[in-house]
Symmetry: C2
Subunit: 207 residues, 2 copies
DNA sequence: ATAGTTTTGTTAATAAAATAACATTGTTTT
DNA sequence: AAAACAATGTTATTTTATTAACAAAACTAT
């Protein structure tokens, strides 16, 4: 099992490499990849070492092979299905953004309570009423859920998602969720991020 | 200067405390605050120690005082102005979300290129054409920028923001930005987050 | 009042992440 | 062919973050 930070960077390596692939050389040096992401060459080499890929000395890494290896590590070749709960602005932002990327992860369904949004295709995703969550999850075999709904319902929905077999949750609501140990939970809170920026700006200016 | 992770948690403590304040007791124990956020009591106590606040033994922390102390640390009492660049779904999601919270950080202007969105009030924020970025920044004395625009323009906008005096950037675009050393840059990438969840789900199932 | 309990505050230990150091290998130059 | 160079791969060190350990204080019960 790779370190969290390495996994995050692998995702970024792959994305950068995919755009690099289209126009540039067949090989890439660790310092080139590093500078594309503002990292150090050592960190790039260490991450690549951890996934067991090995480049050729003096030539660097084969872009194609490296993408392949990272993909194999990150999604293991298998298609992964995700659902999104809450199709407000955030939900639409995520789906729009996500569908424009090449990825083995596919958002296969959205859930909403707002009647005007149900049984329509929104941002390319078929949207269902929250009531049919269990049925759709069974049909689609989704293992991941993205939560972009309003806080009050978040824990209820989470319980139902987990019960229906969801194994990973990306939580954009500001409330801390309760999940069993075998479910991987990743939280992201925009307000916290902005407050963090504000704090470090203040500290930097102080100096 | 506090550790990054502590700053993040302080932001979350404050939020949780603010809702706690309304209905519950005057004091709170470290283990209570911890369990509200799924952290350990030790971590809570250590963070609180780092900001130099001290509770009373056997009674816990005064909710009011702790909120005050955290606020003093995070925003130092001063109002902080932020702008947002890009008022697509993501921009709207952020502003809606943010304006519903009590905070010393205020989003004072939005920038857009889309003519239909300019000189209107969107999600409660006055929206301007990107051309007037420099003028508005001078007027509002904003120090923080949130980037929720489409990638191609991101670096250009960043250069202009930095030149106009922005000291902190929260970047939601997927491209890595170049900023001078004295500007604090925080990146958040949704695709990376989802791919991370997918990886750890896969690994957990494997076991 | 004394012993026991509960909670804070702080130091010590451990774990995770990043960085530095360097050995190795293939390429180029002379 | 030998020396110099430039890149990778890996181990060692340092830094950052978390967790554990425990002393001190304040309340409770006997």
């Amino acid at each position: 099992m790779l370190p969290e930070k390495t996994v995050e960077r692998l995702s970024m390596y792959r994305r950068v490499l995919q755009t690099y692939q289209d126009n540039k050389s067949e090989f890439i040096y660790s310092h080139e990849l590093a500078s594309l992401l503002h990292l150090t060459p050592v960190q790039v080499r260490r991450d690549i070492m951890l996934i067991g890929y090995t480049g050729t000395q003096r030539k660097g890494y084969s872009v194609r092979e490296l993408i392949e290896k990272i993909s194999q590590i990150l999604d293991g070749g298998a298609q992964i299905n995700a659902v999104i709960v809450g199709m407000g602005h955030l939900g639409k932002a995520i789906t729009n953004y996500f569908n424009s990327k090449r990825s083995k992860i596919e958002i296969v369904a959205a859930f909403e309570n707002d009647a005007t949004k149900i049984n329509r295709i929104i941002s390319g995703i078929k949207s269902y009423h929250t009531d049919s969550l269990e049925t759709i999850l069974e049909d689609t075999h989704a293992t991941i859920a993205i939560l972009s709904l309003s806080p009050p319902e978040a824990q209820d929905i989470t319980d139902r998602l987990v019960f229906a077999g969801i194994k990973g949750i990306l939580n954009f609501t500001s409330i801390p969720l309760n999940v069993p140990e075998d479910v991987f939970l990743e939280n992201y809170d925009m307000v916290t991020s902005i407050e963090k920026v504000a704090y470090f700006v203040k500290e930097k200016i102080k100096k």
